[in-house]
Symmetry: C2
Subunit: 203 residues, 2 copies
């Protein structure tokens, strides 16, 4: 590859832009199949750069994969944010859960891998996932009073652990597919008020 | 140790008895603190045998620990079996959950370790835990009709994932202790009919 004159200006990127480009390509390759599809070779080829350049931005393939998973999880938190223009808490939850299931369907392999597979053994990724859970829990707890429930320690605990229920439902659904997406959505939306309600009865 | 005449008969054990003795000692040492407390040295000392003999029964310390965890999990399944003499399903569930919380309190460190810690990365132990979950799920599903609910695929999925909810509640409770044991018990007992009920409304 010879870089001359204008061409050089067109393809020269700031380190930040280059990192972003590599991550975007990585995410793209992951979305086509799964993280295993993201090899340094393929990314180098698509980006038109050398393998060495990629290792300038990411210490190892594992490091690159980790960065991609961080992006995926950030995307999940972003997409499942409850809509601003909906006031009914159940409609809000329903909309969030649709967005969540869209995400799950798009990134099924990697998401299940992060929750249950080899990726789940990586302490750095566990922390990323825990932070995403915390963000989602915080959002829900802010809205529990709209359901007419007091946020007691028992309700708080039940809402936190509802996330574990949701993840388990989704992991089983992806593996078995013996219920429809609509049924999964119904279970997810119905389960939160059911659990919060049951916990609110605990003295 | 000199073994002669009658003494030899008293302390000679069949390989099966010896293995059992070593496992029991291992469980005992684990119950005093956690699995980390179970070193080959301590077990050898308490059993009055050589380290080499222990390695005759267990290939490695990891292998020995794995066998102890299997015993612990089997104990959990055994102890949480619903009582035969109780007919009301909620009373049955309540009694199972008391037994489960007894177990959790007794083996907190190892149980949390198996569910969330380094032990959870061990595929053989994951399988042990999965089998225990299956046994518990099967027991519950057999009794769901007593609640007046049909076991639809959605109800089945919700009951399966209720186990993930229960485990998460318990892991958080052990770590934080910001609710009482009675409150945790109330959450666990209330959550199963709440989730099964919510899932039964899904078409």
């Amino acid at each position: 590859m010879t870089i001359t004159g204008k061409g050089a200006r067109r393809t020269r990127r700031s380190p930040q832009e280059r990192r972003r480009q590599l991550l975007d390509l990585g995410r793209e390759l992951a979305a086509e199949a799964s993280l295993e599809n993201v090899t340094i070779e393929k990314v180098a080829e698509r980006a038109g750069v050398s393998r060495a350049l990629i290792f300038h931005y990411f210490a190892s393939k594992q490091d690159f994969h980790q960065a991609i998973v961080r992006e995926q999880i950030a995307l999940m938190v972003e997409r499942t944010a409850p809509p601003d223009d909906v006031e009914d808490p159940i409609a809000m939850l329903s909309s969030s859960m649709e967005a969540y299931l869209d995400y799950v369907e798009e990134y099924a392999d990697d998401y299940v891998g992060v929750l249950r597979g080899t990726l789940s053994a990586d302490p750095a990724l566990r922390q990323v996932v825990d932070e995403a859970r915390l963000a989602m829990i915080r959002r829900i707890l802010e809205r529990v009073p709209v359901l007419g429930l007091e946020v007691t320690p028992a309700v708080q605990l039940a809402v936190q652990s509802w996330i574990a229920f949701v993840e388990d439902v989704v992991v089983r659904w992806v593996a078995e597919k013996d219920v429809t997406r609509e049924q999964v959505h119904g279970i997810l939306v119905g389960s939160l008020p059911a659990l919060a309600g049951a916990a609110s009865l605990v003295n």
